[in-house]
């Protein structure tokens, strides 16, 4: 059973209550978006997700995309769903109103993305990549290109892609070979083969606009010689209609583990006409504008699947009757108790739940910083937001997708054999979640970005907003008398201590021997993620206690559950910080001990 209803109460909590004092809010630009309006947006998005996207999720997985005579088709129902989605304005939710977007904040956009990814992650890629492509064009393309492409792309009439990967070059883009020949009219002829291109071709839109990384003749070797080009499938006419076919063809689609309704294409460019976006040889910088928001969005894919996996597991655990509760039968009227009575099933459900709530909160903090980075009038706030986003982007991407896959896996386990067979649609979550740990830079590469780039940048300044927030909260909460809060605070202080020590260790050892930093990277990223979630749970508990003291009325159940859920996180998940710390401390020694020949 794929069961989903957006967790609207928790979404409103993270959106309106949890970070009211983080300094990133109160942006003038968003004054018109009052809480009741944003709540209405979330309500309607939930309807679209539940009623339009979820019904085609499992069928889309079974049917998959097809490729025939150079033409790619999405599964049945995808075109109609895309039209409903686009006509409702959802494709342009966070886009700039200058180009026809709705201009809503990222803080809301990321919540809507969560719903879309939960109910149909394959679908999410089509509008998702288009949105990413428009941000790169907005940020770096000429006015002429902007006017010719942005209105159609923002409205979702045309879609976008990002074409980086080639068969011999994935992580290491410095190896890429696709060529760009300058033409007298200022355009370029692009020639080369790209693989693994998501939404590379399909039947949802009239045109597909590729953003292609390629090398201009005589460019410097490596990543410093790569430029970004805009290459349309069909050349646009002056009136905005599509004209002649460009030299872009699809050689095939991949057959994959999951994400089957997303067309992953091999694309050949044969003297295709393209235009430079940004400066020659500065393509990586332009592409990274796109990659940075995309990386947070890929993290949200993990979160979305985490949530639907959780809800689907809860629904089953309440229904499936097996065994008796260890504390005596809970439903003597039935042949057996529902499996939700068993501690080990609770362990699985609670783990999925804290992963989802913890990631939702941390993601919201990051989304608010994305908004402040872009729109704050206060240079100090802007800088702080920029630093925070830089630090958290790899954490959100890798942590959320790792935990999302773990949650999907736990959902399969909750269903037992009924999770492993196809019928219930739960194994799809695990297959669909798996890719998010790989694309947009593998999670290993995210960890290297964190320790290799984000930590040392500006003498460690990126760490400051995060570390300050955590230490301030610990200090504020330490004298609190309430027993639960005291224990939560103690847990966070300990994990934060482990993070600070690890940071110092990596800074010292990594300076002398970069392999030491590489050996610590993945554990360090997880450690930072755990502390980030711990911060969110402590803050949430603090707010929940205050609300309960005031008298929370109808919300009493929500706040009490929040405190109890946080308790599980502090008891059962956060202690992993110590293990990470010990692993980091051990250094690279045992990791690199074997000779290559011994493998």
């Amino acid at each position: 059973m794929q069961v989903y209803d957006a967790p609207l109460r928790d979404m409103r909590f993270v959106l309106h209550e949890l970070f009211a004092d983080d300094g990133f809010g109160g942006l003038k630009k968003f004054e018109e978006f009052t809480p009741d309006l944003l709540d209405a947006v979330l309500e309607e998005a939930n309807k679209v997700a539940k009623d339009v996207l979820l019904p085609i999720n499992a069928p889309g997985d079974i049917e998959g995309c097809t490729y025939e005579n150079g033409v790619v088709r999405t599964p049945k129902g995808f075109k109609a769903a895309y039209d409903t989605f686009r006509e409702g304005g959802w494709a342009s939710l966070a886009s700039d109103p200058e180009w026809g977007g709705q201009g809503l904040p990222e803080s809301v956009n990321k919540l809507v993305e969560e719903m879309i990814c939960a109910t149909n992650v394959s679908f999410s890629l089509y509008p998702g990549l288009t949105h990413g492509a428009t941000t790169a064009i907005e940020g770096h393309a000429s006015d002429e290109l902007k006017h010719a492409y942005l209105p159609k792309m923002v409205s979702g009439e045309w879609s976008g892609t990002m074409c980086l990967t080639e068969s011999h070059c994935g992580t290491d883009l410095g190896l890429l070979r696709t060529k760009a020949d300058p033409q007298p009219d200022g355009s370029f002829k692009i020639t080369g083969s790209k693989i693994f291109i998501s939404a590379g071709d399909h039947d949802l839109t009239d045109n597909v606009i590729h953003l292609v990384l390629a090398r201009i003749a005589d460019a410097p070797a490596g990543v410093k010689g790569i430029s970004l080009f805009l290459v349309p499938k069909f050349m646009p006419n002056d009136d905005g209609s599509v004209g002649a076919r460009n030299g872009v063809s699809v050689a095939g689609i991949e057959h994959k583990m999951g994400l089957k309704a997303s067309a992953t294409c091999q694309i050949n460019f044969d003297d295709a006409t393209g235009w430079l976006v940004g400066q020659p040889h500065k393509g990586m910088a332009a592409m990274f504008t796109m990659m940075n928001t995309e990386r947070v969005s890929v993290g949200v894919q993990g979160l979305g699947i985490n949530e639907i996996a959780y809800q689907s597991a809860v629904a089953y655990a309440k229904e499936r009757l097996q065994g008796r509760s260890l504390s005596g039968a809970k439903r003597p009227d039935l042949a057996a108790d529902p499996i939700i009575v068993h501690p080990d099933v609770r362990r699985m459900l609670m783990t999925m739940r804290v992963y989802a709530e913890g990631c939702r909160a941390l993601g919201q903090w990051c989304a608010r910083a994305l908004d402040a980075e872009k729109h704050s009038d206060d240079p100090e706030v802007k800088q702080r937001a920029t630093d925070f986003v830089a630090l958290m982007t790899p954490v959100v991407k890798a942590l959320f997708t790792d935990l999302g896959f773990d949650a999907a896996n736990l959902a399969v386990q909750t269903y037992g054999g009924h999770g492993y067979i196809r019928e219930h649609g739960v194994e799809q979550f695990a297959r669909d979640a798996r890719i998010a740990m790989i694309y947009e830079g593998t999670n290993g590469v995210q960890a290297l970005d964190l320790v290799g780039r984000k930590l040392p940048a500006n003498m460690g300044r990126n760490l400051r907003p995060f570390f300050h927030a955590v230490s301030n909260l610990c200090e504020e909460m330490a004298p609190k008398q309430d027993k639960a809060l005291k224990a939560y605070t103690g847990g966070l202080q300990q994990a934060f201590g482990a993070l600070q020590l690890s940071t110092a260790t990596i800074a010292q050892k990594g300076m002398k021997d970069p392999e030491e930093a590489g050996a610590a990277a993945t554990d360090y990223l997880r450690l930072m993620g755990l502390v980030g979630m711990g911060y969110c749970f402590l803050k949430a508990s603090k707010i929940a206690y205050a609300k309960l003291a005031e008298g929370a009325g109808d919300d009493e159940g929500f706040y009490k559950a929040k405190i109890a859920t946080a308790g599980f996180f502090f008891d059962r998940i956060l202690p992993q910080a110590t293990a990470m710390f010990l692993a980091i401390k051990s250094g690279k020694r045992s990791l690199m001990a074997l000779d290559e020949a011994a493998f």
């Binding site: 309006l37 309500e43 309607e44 309807k47 409903t84 409702g88 939710l93 159940g557």
Partner: protein, 249 residues
């Protein structure tokens, strides 16, 4: 021509209702509330009439708690033009609602009042009919098709034996059945616009109506649990059992 559409805030149709322990009603604490689905169909029909040029303005009205404002905003987000909220904390009953609607219709002079055929919380199926009587105007209930031509409206009704078509002089009252249309999703731009559309706040006293309940609910209880079935060995046993139950001769 103006179209007036009353909308009610009710327990969401996806929610499995629980009866309160003391049997006084359905437990609504922490329960998701939404627009009555039949009213959603009524709003959709009114908007379609306006889009076709048959109507000029769609006015939605809700009688209920202050939170019914959210229900009105939903209707505005779907495309209604303005809203009237008549706030009362009384449990509203069909007659009081019909009287308030009559008073509003006197002020607004709509060509059509389109209502849901019933609200899914109390399933009364009375308000439209009572309103028609109070207004002394014709009614076309359980509509599966509505066509406006000049001064009349043709309504295809879903009745027990099939479909019945009636032609009513405007102003008229129409109540919607499930198959009339499929309500749209509110578009994002319309959700934003809904916020600035006019919403008038009123009370029942503004219309001289007393909403004190006239009906006393004696007891609300869960429907009886289904008892386990039995397996019969063959057709003969089945027939014998059916005869014993008195359902077969």
């Amino acid at each position: 021509m103006k179209v007036l559409v009353p909308v009610k805030r009710v327990i969401d149709y996806n929610v499995k209702p629980r009866v309160k322990m003391d049997g006084t009603g359905v437990d609504l604490a922490n329960v998701k509330m939404s627009m009555n689905p039949f009213d959603e169909i009524a709003v959709e029909e009114a908007i379609r009439l306006r889009e076709k040029g048959a109507a000029t303005e769609v006015v939605v009205v809700s009688i209920g708690p202050a939170k019914a404002q959210e229900t009105l905003r939903t209707a505005l987000a779907m495309g209604a033009d303005r809203a009237i909220l008549v706030t009362t904390d009384d449990a509203v009953e069909p007659l009081a609602v019909a009287k308030i609607l009559k008073a509003i219709a006197d002020e607004e002079q709509p060509g059509l009042v389109i209502l849901g055929k019933q609200a899914i919380d109390d399933d009364s199926n009375q308000t439209g009919q009572m309103l028609a009587a109070l207004m002394g105007r014709p009614q076309g209930t359980f509509a599966s098709k509505v066509e406006v031509e000049g001064d009349s409206v043709t309504v295809t009704r879903e009745v027990d034996g099939g479909l019945e078509t009636v032609k009513l002089a405007i102003p008229a009252i129409v109540t919607t059945d499930l198959r009339l249309n499929e309500p749209r999703y509110a578009s994002l731009p319309n959700i934003m616009k809904a916020k600035s559309k006019p919403l008038a706040n009123k009370t029942p006293t503004d219309y001289g109506v007393d909403t004190t309940p006239r009906i006393e609910t004696v007891k609300v209880s869960e429907p009886p649990k289904r008892v386990a079935g039995i397996k019969v060995a063959d057709v003969d046993e089945l027939v014998a059992k059916l005869k014993a139950m008195g359902v077969a001769a």
